[in-house]
Symmetry: C2
Subunit: 332 residues, 2 copies
């Protein structure tokens, strides 16, 4: 990696991977650290899922959410995607001197409302204040714990012929935040920020086989699907015309020069399921408001090992790599 850490390293894409896999994981290596993408599974009386994220989104308030809602959803969703039933959160604030107390109150009220919606509790926390110019209004860290009810979810469980499902439209959060930051007219575009634990538990609780679940946040759908297959003998082929993208997201992405497949989502999940589970899984997802636009967007294939390929509307095939640079800094 470079000798100096630049914004690119926070993008959720290739450089973030290099930082995490090249430096952080090898240095901290231990048996519990590696197996899952966004959380650890802990032994103990009953196995637990444990996950954390820090949130540095700019601006603090955006259409469809705010940093507080995001901080609860982000960690709730990570625990749920690991097969856990999120129950308890920690919450830590790093406040920049000069933040109006009313803004902090608004964020905390939003956290509380989101906790109630997700049926989780914030049970411990911490508050630090830094000087002006040493932060940006407010950063929040949450860590979350839940009991592991659905073990075995893993990209390693993926098999050739499996279906790739997306629970709704792609790119809403990233496009909404970038448009809010640009100061341009926002129209109908809203972040999809939402807790996904009930949707995930419904899907996992039916007895349908599910290989892996993941919420495609930083780096978007294209980066997460790359992570599923990189270094394996399997690839994923998605079809452009099957990927649900809302009109406002399309318009914002054109305006801002973004690609919805690389824009963060904060209320969508990707599920890989065997072919025989596809119809039932889609029907179930669509029975929830947050999953009503669910679609099969692709298939697991042995043709392009380790790669994500997109069949375009015009019939061509294009390799989609992990996000390469800082397309969307400070998106979550």
């Amino acid at each position: 990696m470079d000798e100096i850490i630049t914004l690119d390293y926070g993008s959720g894409g290739k450089k973030t991977s290099r930082l995490i896999e090249g430096m952080i994981l090898p240095a901290l290596d231990n048996p519990a650290l590696r197996p899952l993408g966004d959380g650890a599974i802990l032994p103990g009386g009953e196995p637990l899922v444990f996950s954390t994220d820090s949130f540095v989104v700019d601006p603090l308030f955006f259409p469809g959410g705010d940093i507080g809602k995001l901080a609860v959803c982000g960690t709730v969703n990570d625990v749920a995607m690991c097969g856990g039933v999120p129950a308890w959160l920690s919450c830590s604030f790093i406040i920049e001197e000069g933040l109006p107390a009313a803004q902090l109150e608004r964020v905390i009220a939003s956290m509380r409302a989101t906790c109630e919606a997700a049926e989780v509790q914030i049970v411990t926390g911490d508050t630090k204040v830094v000087e002006r110019g040493r932060g940006d209004k407010l950063y929040i860290n949450t860590a979350g714990i839940g009991q592991l009810r659905y073990p075995g979810l893993s990209p390693r469980a993926i098999r050739e012929g499996d279906r790739v499902l997306l629970s709704g439209t792609a790119g809403d959060h990233g496009a909404a935040v970038m448009l809010a930051r640009s100061g341009l007219m926002q129209g109908e575009l809203r972040s999809d920020c939402a807790p996904l634990n009930k949707l995930a538990q419904a899907l996992l609780g039916t007895g349908l086989q599910v290989r892996v679940l993941r919420d495609p946040t930083r780096g978007g759908v294209a980066t997460t699907l790359n992570e599923f297959v990189e270094g394996t003998a399997l690839g994923i082929e998605i079809e452009e015309e099957r990927i649900p993208v809302s009109g406002p997201v399309q318009a914002a992405c054109e305006l801002l020069g973004l690609d919805p497949l690389y824009c963060a989502n904060e209320g969508k999940l990707l599920a890989v399921v065997p072919p025989e589970s596809e119809d039932a899984a889609l029907a179930l997802l669509r029975s929830f408001p947050e999953g009503r636009a669910a679609a099969r967007i692709g298939t697991v294939t042995g043709q392009v090992p380790g790669r994500l390929v997109m069949k375009t509307r015009l019939g061509g095939r294009r390799i989609l790599q992990k996000l390469a640079g800082a397309q969307l800094p400070r998106i979550c």
Copy 2:
């Protein structure tokens, strides 16, 4: 509270209490949130202790430690002080663009070494990068989980006549960091930053009665002892001449205009024990290198309800309040 959050709100003293107790706790109120100072006790298969802290110390490296060692010790110690056996940590980085990668590597190596010393594992994490001027080199959040092996520790268990023990000299961390920040000669002064879980478990595992344990970090010994008795019918009287303070800490505090009783400690614990446990508890603490300067510094009394009083060397009595302002910003 004020309409604008100032640095004072991060000092660990009165304004921090107002922010947490006046705004954050009421807004997030739930049954699990309140009972303990620095962690939550969770029901479940086996009860767990869960705690978190964000670390914003300036400078990143100081004599006796660095932000990585501090981030592991701080959360390990909070779990241990709640009666838990710390086992698993999360670790989240907020990196300011421009941080030399070598500094991050050094911090991570220090975290790993400290985890090994404390026999805990970092099992999940997150990495964000913010623009120059939106952070300060590196902030770290850790959250920690441990099984609750020693339930019932609480300031509410304190009784009149109980003894107040301090496991070593006061103020080393705060004085060392402030001296490092001042750029003045540092001499022998070093932070006491250290994991306390083995010391705490030895003390709690003997069968000796212990009312409450707490590591006096931000706000120091005086603030923590105030927290033990505030709002109760009991007070604490400490004796100035019994409080161990090292020569270098005394010299640094004189130079910088600080009071060692309000300086943060990161490798010391306060224990309140019944009188019949005093001798055995002190002997046990002193049998560990990190507790060799342990001392009884005071007694719980019914004479000064809700107050901390210090009998001075000259025989006078002085009320010590919680830290009032930002004596030591960015100390941990």
